[in-house]
Every structure is written in C-alpha cells, then in structure tokens.
C-alpha cells in the first residue's frame, strides 16, 4: 500500500519548512478534538487554582461558617448550594482545585525525578545495579498503591506535604519501569553505538541521546499519573487520611456530605463532578499526547 505523503510546506524562501519532532506532534494533536478539549479544561483549572487565592477570601468565603444559611439547595445566591455549615459549595470547589492540582503535580514531580533517574541508571548500567533497583521497585509495587499510600500517610500524619510524599512514592515504580524499558530499547540502537564510538562519556550519552528519545512515553505517563494522583488524593481525603478539614479538598467534601446525602445530595454531587472533570480532562490530554507523539501507536 502506497504511503501517505505529507505535502511539504514552503516558507518565505520557497524552501521546505521542516518541523521538529515536537512541532509535528503538536500539529497532529491540534486535530484531536478530545485532546484539545482536555488541554483547554486543564488550562482553565490551572487558572482557577491560581486566581481563586486572589478572588476568594479564605476565611470568609471558604471556611467561614454561617449557620443561618446551612443546607441550602442551589439558588441565585449560592449557585451550587451550601453545606451543613452554611459554606458556599461553589466557592469551596473552586478553592479546592488548589489542593488537588498541587498535590497531583508535586506528587508526580517527585515520582518523575526519582523514577526517571533510577530507571535511567538501571537501564543503562545494567548488572547488579539494575538488579537491586528493579527488586526494590518490585517490592514497592507488589503492595497495592492505595494501601501503600494509606500506610505512609497514617504513619507520617495528615498534612498536604505528607500526602504528596505518600502518593509520589507510590508512583515511582511506574516511572522506573518505563524509563528503564525505553532506555534498554534505545541503548541498543545504532546511533548510541556511534556516540560511544566517537567517545562520548556515559552521562552525556544518557542525557543527550537516550533521554530525548525516551521522552514520549514519559510525557504521556506523567500526564496520566497526575490524573491518578488526583484520584488518590481525593480518595485518601475521603477516608479521612488526606488533607484535613475544614480545608475544601474535594474528597473530604464528599465524605462530609455523606451524612446528608439523602436529602441534600449536592454536597456529594458537585465535588465529585469536579474531580471527574479534572481527571477526565487530564486523561483526554494524556491520550492525545500519546497519539500525537507516537502515531505508530495510534489505532
């Protein structure tokens, strides 16, 4: 079957414009409606997270109790209703985005840095070093994620930092595996042999040649892990082991709303919706990145 040929774009000089690898990927992704939607929503969420600190006052809008207005259904003054302490649900949800996004990003950042480093070393060095790292990784990943995070949080105490650490640590194994796998594939390619043949040092080879080619799966994994970190964070908060009340973390809002679910379901409905929208957009974005960065994988 004949290959589809890209018509080369011409620039001002009438010469072929070459796009970089990422430029190509971006071009492909622009066509993916789901991915673009995901990107848009994520951007909006980030904006909300940043701006809500300025536009909302923590003490009055977010945690200030107002028993006169408790348990209101959605109305003109409180668009999503109020909770049992009279706090506006919408404001709490908007402010709550700060917790979810920051925990998600920091936890994954921890996992990324630690995981990629360990994975790259394991993949490139091989031998005993690789064995030790992989066995440790196996130990960490043989405990189901949720349980591991539970244990860490309950040991270290309830705080946002500990939550980030707990979730971050449980995400490390995935990054180690992916990095090691791509490093192993790339390491045996001929262009690495060429680099070695001309005398490049090991760290330089890893950084300049191997990692750039391993980037694609790592980027995709990062996006998807942020999504699952947010679910983990809200799950732990739901269980009472995450970010403590009265902070408006979405999971703990859900938990707080349980008692009233029968007659005032929106205390559980809306925060959960917020979680879902956030995670959905990250998943759409992650999928889109995966399709765009490696079209061979696209089905």
């Amino acid at each position: 079957m004949a290959k589809k040929q890209q018509k080369p774009k011409l620039d001002a000089n009438g010469e072929r414009k070459q796009r970089s690898q990422f430029g190509e990927a971006w071009h492909r992704m622009k066509k993916d409606k789901g991915a673009m939607l995901g990107l848009a929503v994520v951007s909006i969420l980030v904006l909300v997270a940043i701006l809500s600190n300025f536009l909302l006052d923590y003490d009055t809008d977010v945690v200030g109790m107002n028993t006169k207005e408790r348990l209101q259904s959605p109305n003109a003054k409180h668009l999503l209703g109020t909770d049992e302490y009279g706090r506006d649900i919408l404001f709490r949800i908007l402010y709550g985005s700060r917790y979810s996004l920051s925990v998600g990003l920091v936890a994954v950042a921890i996992a990324l840095v630690a995981g990629v480093t360990l994975g790259a070393i394991a993949g490139y060095k091989g031998g005993a070093v690789e064995e030790v790292i992989m066995r440790l990784t196996d130990i960490f990943s043989s405990v189901p994620n949720m349980l591991m995070a539970l244990v860490v949080v309950s040991a270290l105490g309830q705080s946002m930092l500990n939550l980030m650490i707990a979730i971050g640590v449980t995400s490390i194994p995935q990054f180690v595996r992916i990095t090691r796998a791509t490093v192993l594939t790339v390491r045996n390619q001929e262009y690495v042999e060429s680099a070695r043949a001309i005398g490049l040092s090991t760290p330089k080879i890893i950084i300049s040649h191997i990692l750039p080619n391993s980037l694609s799966p790592i980027i995709v994994q990062t996006t998807l892990r942020v999504a699952s970190a947010i679910i983990s964070a809200s799950s732990l908060s739901f269980l009472g082991l995450g970010i403590p009340a009265p902070n408006p973390e979405w999971g703990s809002m859900l938990s707080g709303g349980r008692k009233f679910i029968r007659d005032y379901p929106y205390m559980t409905l809306y925060p959960g919706l917020a979680i879902m929208i956030t995670v959905l957009s990250l998943n759409l974005l992650g999928d889109g990145l995966r399709d765009a960065l490696d079209p061979k994988l696209k089905n």
Binding site: M1, A2, K4, Q5
Partner: protein, 335 residues
C-alpha cells in the same frame, strides 16, 4: 504445457486508495491475461502498483481506503468483483492462492505450521480433520520440511523455512493460479534459489499458472514465459520473454536493463535511471516516465501513451514509436 484455457483475465483494472487528504492512484487501467500453465512476470520498482494488483485479484485490497474504481477480473471463469462473499471464500485458497512478500509476518504465531496448512485443506476439501492434518504433513515434506516439525510454531523456523510453509499453505489445495508477491525479496540470496526452484517444481507438478511479482529481472529470466512491465500503476510494456528481453521497446524497460551491473564489463560505470517514480497522488497528465526519459519529446508531457501492438504478443506504450524508424538503443528490431 500450454493449452488455450484462460485462467485469468484482467480488464481495465483501476484501483485507488482514497485517503483523507489525497487519493493514491495505485493501479491505472491495466489489462492482461494468463493461460493455463503460463508464468507471467509482473515487473516494476517499489510503488509501481504490483502488490495492489495482486490483492485486487483476490479482492483483498484493504477497504477502506482502497477502492476498485473500475475493471473486471475473471479467475477460472468467476467474476471476482461481483461474486458473493461466500463464493469468494470458496475460490480463495482453492482456485487462486497467494504467497506474500514477508514470511516473517505472514504466519499466525499462535498456531502450529501444520495447523495453518491443514486449515486450508479443511476449508476446501471434504475430508476429516485428521485427514487434513495428514495431508498438511505431506505438504510439509513436499516443501522440504521434515513432517516431525509440523507441531512447531512459526517462531521456531528461520525465514527461508517460514516461506516454505507459506508456499505449502498456498499450494495445499492445488490452485490453478498462484500469485507470488516478491517471494524471495526478504530472504538471503542463497535461499532465494532454493525457494524459486521449489515454486518451479511444484508448479510443473501441478500445472499451476503463476504470476511472479518481482523487481528482479534475473528472476524473470529464470522463471517466466511472459512479462508485463509496470510503471506508476500502468503496464507500459508486455510480451513474452524473448520479446521483452531481446526486442526491448520501452525506454523504461531499457533503463531497467541498463541499470543492471554487467559482470563482463566490471570497469563500466553503473547506469541507474535518474530521478524517482512520480508521486501517485499527483500523476502527470502525460506519460508518467517522461521526466526521467532520455527519449522524451514535447508531446510526451501532455499526451497519455496507449499500449500499441508491435507483434501478436508484444505491446508497448510509448508515443515516440509513432515516428517511423524510432527505436530505443537496446534490443533488436522486430521484422
């Protein structure tokens, strides 16, 4: 042994691949026929449309995006493009069979080789499963693989042996027409000769007609009775072996012969055809070979050449032959 029974007749076949942004004109109005026992070589560079033609004969052109725009294909009396699916499945494997290019990917990794051969027999012949398996083992022996290995999986065989299995599958039901799509391209040179011999022996034994798709003129010389040269989806020259090799007409065919290194003249420079085949999504209005042709004239740019008969058997599509006395440098002239 040639008889006049026509096993295959292709008339004005045109196949396009309609993609999102463009259309690939893979096969453009080709016609040829094949009689019982004949072997025709379908020659051309990569991208000339040979594989698409072969797939069309079995109605296996991937759809989407492939579309058979026009044409008629008759195999052993059956109109391949009109026949209902059930009949099609009866014909495939029984009357017409195909050997694909890449043996590494043509076999299903989770079934044993004997199972894969036996499946073909089970479908087309009224025998029990056990008998089919027995016959499959016999086929293995016929292609030179010991029957004890029938229970092994494809990954346990080398490339050459895999190709033998593919041949066994194709010939298991003794088809009248065999299409061999570059059967030796993916193999080592030493193995090539063995595989070609195998095809030749089986063909002689069973009286099969063969379409040998290849870009290698050496293979054509060894195995074929007739030749059809394809360029940019068109047949630009066709005739029997002697016609095309010794009385070469078309500039492209001449170019193919010239680009072969000559073992007798090791000091001579290699003479490749300069340029590339045209983009099949953007074929020129005139002769597709014109940009690379050293005999090209003005008319060639705008007028599409048609196949013209020079003898009963020999045809070529080149405008310059309208001029009396014109002939390409290579090859003798017909009387």
């Amino acid at each position: 042994m040639m008889s006049n029974e026509e096993v295959l007749k292709v008339e004005n076949l045109t196949v396009y691949y309609e993609l999102e942004e463009e259309t690939v004109k893979a096969v453009n109005d080709i016609s040829f026929s094949l009689h019982k026992g004949e072997t025709i070589g379908l020659v051309g560079e990569t991208g000339a449309g040979k594989t698409t033609t072969a797939l069309a004969l079995l109605r296996l052109v991937p759809d989407p995006p492939g579309v058979i725009k026009s044409g008629k294909i008759t195999v052993c009396g059956n109109d391949m493009l009109e026949v209902p699916v059930q009949k099609l499945e009866e014909i495939r494997g029984k009357d017409i069979a195909m050997i694909f290019q890449d043996p590494m990917t043509s076999l299903n990794p989770v079934f044993t080789v004997a199972e894969q051969i036996a499946e073909s027999i089970e479908i087309h012949e009224k025998v029990s499963k056990h008998e089919a398996y027995e016959k499959a083992l016999e086929m293995l022996e016929m292609v030179g693989i010991p029957r004890e290995r029938g229970g092994e999986y494809p990954h346990q065989f080398s490339g050459g042996m895999k190709q033998r299995v593919v041949i066994a599958i194709a010939l298991a039901c003794q088809p009248q027409l065999l299409i061999a799509d570059e059967p030796t391209t993916a193999l080592d040179v030493t193995i090539q000769a063995q595989v070609l011999d195998l095809i030749k022996n089986l063909k002689d034994k069973q009286g099969t007609s063969v379409i040998m798709i290849t870009h290698d003129l050496g293979i054509v010389a060894e195995t074929c009775d007739k030749v059809a040269v394809m360029y940019a989806g068109r047949i630009i020259e066709t005739g029997n072996l002697d016609d095309v090799f010794n009385y070469t007409l078309h500039p492209y065919t001449e170019g193919l012969f010239n680009s072969l290194p000559n073992i007798n003249d090791r000091k001579a420079e290699l003479k490749p055809i300069h340029g590339l085949m045209p983009d099949p999504t953007n074929l020129p209005a005139g002769c597709a070979f014109e940009p690379r042709c050293e005999y090209a004239c003005e008319a060639c740019k705008t007028q599409q050449p048609e196949l013209v008969s020079f003898t009963d058997t020999h045809k070529a599509a080149c405008l310059r032959y309208a001029e009396p006395g014109f002939h390409v440098a290579r090859g003798k002239k017909h009387e």
